[in-house]
């Protein structure tokens, strides 16, 4: 259609569709009946559940077998991830490692790093956090000030990372740090390191969010010494590396399904004889989900073909996040004064309380619209 806006038709191949029923059955078997299901990929941190997924081969699905992966296609991974999210399963423990830390290592890591870090991720035993933002660097990632200085046999890190989800219960963080001057482009002199979150010199402080949960954290490095083996990719190549993660980070089903359980509980709430207005709202929401899903699958096809659909991914995320926020706003007007334990009320309240994060995490709406505008040639 336009340069940078090309959602080619794509259908999930039969071998991907074939996985669907198995994932559904698995979730029904494994989740306790009283578990409050949540389709937000950030909610629900369960080592037990992640390890079971690992045993089924549903983590690191697209990675080569020698690193514990399944040599599967992006389409197969797509089906498994959307089924888990739609079912509201607890997936946050392994999510970041599976989605982006692992692919980052596969692309830029050394053979030793791949052999060391990837197999435990695929077993659902090893969890990663993102170390990009800082107190003074939110959307403006090029301005990070955490610094790594070369010392004998390694590097010494100082600085503070912020909003690192689950750093208080994960094992590693991939930190974007300054190793040299930023240059005219502001994109030079950045590098990435894997840091053990339990190492000396690392302090993790959970930050309570408006829902009262402790999901994200401040991670402080004070003379934290890491070895040369902890460097990911080349010194100074950090900008290219973090931006290459974004196609994976921005286009997946987690960008439009966060509020999906509200939809499910609403369908349950209206029962067998909905009013015309209730039917219309359900149909409207379903139409949006169906369309976003088709767009997301199209991006999965581009990833599978080895393309870099950065603009399309930004567009799917932006549309999807706006939809995730709109869904509970529309549903709430049909569900007055429910009891405190009513599943629709619980789901609505939980989603509303987390909804501000939808259009912030992984690139704010404003940043994404800028990316799209650039893709359209406006800047």
């Amino acid at each position: 259609m336009f340069s940078g806006l090309d959602f080619e038709p794509a259908r999930l191949p039969p071998e991907a569709e074939a996985l669907r029923v198995g994932v559904r059955d698995f979730v029904e078997r494994e989740l306790p009946g009283d578990y409050l299901r949540n389709s937000d990929f950030n909610e629900g941190h369960s080592a037990e559940f992640s390890q079971k997924l690992g045993m089924r081969g549903w983590i690191g699905m697209t990675w080569p077998q020698q690193y514990g992966g399944g040599d599967r296609s992006f389409f197969e991974r797509y089906v498994v991830t959307e089924e888990l999210l739609a079912a509201g399963a607890p997936v946050s423990a392994h999510w970041i490692a599976d989605r982006q830390s692992g692919p980052l290592l596969l692309r830029y890591g050394t053979e030793d790093q791949k052999l060391k870090y990837l197999p435990p991720i695929t077993r659902g035993e090893s969890y990663f956090s993102i170390g990009m933002s800082e107190p003074d660097s939110g959307s403006d990632l090029a301005s990070v000030q955490t610094r790594a200085s070369a010392v004998d046999g390694g590097w010494i890190l100082n600085g503070t990372k912020l909003w690192s989800t689950d750093a208080h219960r994960n094992h590693y963080i991939v930190a974007l740090v300054r190793t040299g001057p930023s240059g005219e482009s502001r994109h030079e002199g950045l590098s990435q390191f894997i840091v053990d979150l339990h190492a000396n010199g690392v302090t993790v402080r959970p930050i309570k969010n408006i829902a009262g949960d402790e999901d994200f954290n401040e991670v402080v490095f004070e003379d934290c010494v890491v070895s040369e083996e902890n460097l990911v990719g080349a010194v100074g190549n950090g900008w290219e590396q973090v931006t290459s993660e974004l196609g994976y980070e921005r286009s997946g089903p987690e960008r439009f399904l966060s509020a999906f359980r509200v939809f499910v509980e609403f369908v349950r709430y209206v029962g067998a004889s909905p009013s015309d207005e209730e039917s219309a709202l359900i149909g409207r929401l379903a139409s949006h989900i169906m369309t976003l899903r088709q767009m997301s699958i199209s991006v999965a096809a581009m990833l599978q073909a080895g393309k870099n659909p950065a603009t399309e991914a930004a567009l799917v995320k932006s549309l999807g996040n706006d939809f995730e926020k709109t869904l509970p706003e529309l549903v709430r007007l049909f569900a007055p004064r429910l009891g405190p334990k009513h599943p629709l009320r619980c789901s609505l309240e939980q989603t509303l309380l987390h909804s501000p994060s939808f259009t912030i995490r992984g690139g704010t709406r404003e940043i994404l619209r800028g990316v799209i505008a650039r893709g359209l040639g406006l800047r």
Binding site: P9, E17, L281, S287, M290, L319, E366, L376, G377
Partner: protein, 311 residues
Amino acid sequence: MTIDLILDTAERVFTDHCNKELRDSAESGSIDDQKGLFPEGLWTVIQDTGLHQVGGRESGTTLADAFRMIRLAGKFAVPLPYPEILISNRFVTGQGLTTVAEGVIAPWARRAERVVTDDGQLVDEFDVVEGANLAGEPRDEVVFENSKSIELPPNFRAIMAMTRVAAMSGALEKLLELTIDYVGERKQFGRPISGFQAVQHNVARMAGEVAASTRASDAAIEALDTNRFVIQVSAAKVRVGEAAGIVAEIAHQAHGAMGFTHEHELHHYTRRLWAWRDEYGHEKEWQQLIGRQVVAAGADRAWELISDCAD
């Protein structure tokens, strides 16, 4: 000829023959200088090039190809009952201009030799009460006493809704192109207005709506020969209809007062979008159709219905 070559031919024909003057002269309605003239020259060219037979059973092309043509025609705001020409040609044999009525309202019935109604009647003797939609496209009431029953596919209304989905997705793409061009050319405060972040963000939002519409429309076409066709068309009519309002609004805002003038061609697309989203069922009708299916499936199978692959 493959459909790609046919689309190339059509694009040349539309580019050469379908300009603002022609569209203006074809408009029918309340404005004094509207003439409601059927574009005979363009119709002749279309017949000479065989573009009126795309999607026909003996044409070597498919119904999906017809929808691709209708999208292209939507992108050029072709002032012919082009969807009706292609669809009637596929399902009803015979010569001459045949139009299709939604109920008793048919595009260009005043010029047609025959009318097919969407409930399966063929009418060749009829009177016409002239009318138009808000884009000035002739939408005439067909008055008749005798008709012949014909067999149309059971999902015929979905097929007709799909023509509007395809045409809208073409017009939406055109609006995005027009708007990107305009904000790049129009200078205010000493620079192109595309340099302002507020403008960039509106156009980015528009691009999201347009991309969603294109994808929804394509997904429905892809489902054509499957048991998913009706639900995909329903979703597309809902999604594209919603996008039509948003995109038309942003396009007009970006074009300022210029785009509000009759002289500018912007309204040939925005008014058609406003009209087409109401033809063959506005969003709410199709929303309810999907909603009832989801409810019938039940909460625990709602996802299954949404994610089901066609067979």
